[in-house]
Symmetry: C2
Subunit: 210 residues, 2 copies
Amino acid sequence: MASQIPDVVIFRLPLYLRILTLLTEENAEVVSSQELGARLWMTPAQIRKDLSYFGKFGKQGKGYNIAQLREELRQILGLNREWCVALIGVGRLGKAILDYGMLALREFNIVAAFDIDPHQIGRNVSGLMIQDLAELADTVKSQGIEICIVAVPPSQVQRAIDCVVDCGIKAILNYAPAAARVPKDVRMQEVDPTLALQTMTYHLKSLSSP
Amino acid sequence: MASQIPDVVIFRLPLYLRILTLLTEENAEVVSSQELGARLWMTPAQIRKDLSYFGKFGKQGKGYNIAQLREELRQILGLNREWCVALIGVGRLGKAILDYGMLALREFNIVAAFDIDPHQIGRNVSGLMIQDLAELADTVKSQGIEICIVAVPPSQVQRAIDCVVDCGIKAILNYAPAAARVPKDVRMQEVDPTLALQTMTYHLKSLSSP
DNA sequence: ACATGTGAAAGTATTCACAGCC
DNA sequence: GGCTGTGAATACTTTCACATGT
């Protein structure tokens, strides 16, 4: 029994969370599905339906208590604790992820970095000593790593991901602009701006020639 | 008549393209929907259905000619020409996008970079002279910019995006981890690793406590 | 009066299964 | 035999609309 809750619903929860955080900063206390929907270009009904998969968080006639709903969503998404993350590949892209704090978010801690290039191994980048990828399995165990970020060159993606999967990792964030296969029990999310750009040009094209 | 072709289909075309490019490198000449499906963890039927929206590209009993299908998809997606792109926000993240060549892809050319910080304006980053955001409208016209990449701090996202929209841009790639609203005729895609991570923790959580 | 939560209805997307062809 | 392209069938999502509660 994996989950009877649709994947699309899970994907929207972080969006709700983001707006709730914004509303918290605006010192709002209560929000209606109407208002949330307006901010996200979604129908109020969809938001209510999504939330109803997890419980009854609202008050009729009033709406949702922002602080409370935010906490509920954090619980549901598993953001009420820290997650240890390893970075695989410390080339240009990997360095950018470390240096520029592209994941600067409380819940996610990059605690180790790996590469296969002997020139990189042993060097210090943003406070992390780069380790040999062969040590991944050991470090995963000793540090409690549960998520890997893969940022290797396209030609090595499959190799890197196979290695990560062999270490028992079940969640991969893949920055490499390349296709890779994982077993069905492993979650892999792609972060590839190229894919996004390519869908946008499709729509732009239709704009110029109707 | 915007498009009777479902959005999900458009989103999958770049995935097909990616595999076709990989197959080209492997010197394959023909591929079946079966094989494509196996590589992408999709059913062959879905791939055939998706492609059938655009025409008949296969040969019964054989499959699809890789080079030809690849070219067709590039045409369909509008990748058979160059696109001029502007970068909005040259802070840490924006610099990483420029420096680390995170968009190193033939079809997309970052031809201008903008900021509002007087300290940044006039400086040279990766061969681009940073301009005042106020000049965006003029540069969009003179350089034929059609896509903007927004990489500003969360607090300024809405302001930056409003400015971009006012300049007539219809496609925005938003790197900022923050919510923003755009008119319905503007396409905005988010590139936010945080959202991806947050959906993964949901599933990891369920793994440890079944 | 206003807003939630939810079955039922409408609308989309995916998969099946087979005719037609190489 | 193998594979495409596609209407029909199934499965999934979203939206509607209203009973229920404040």
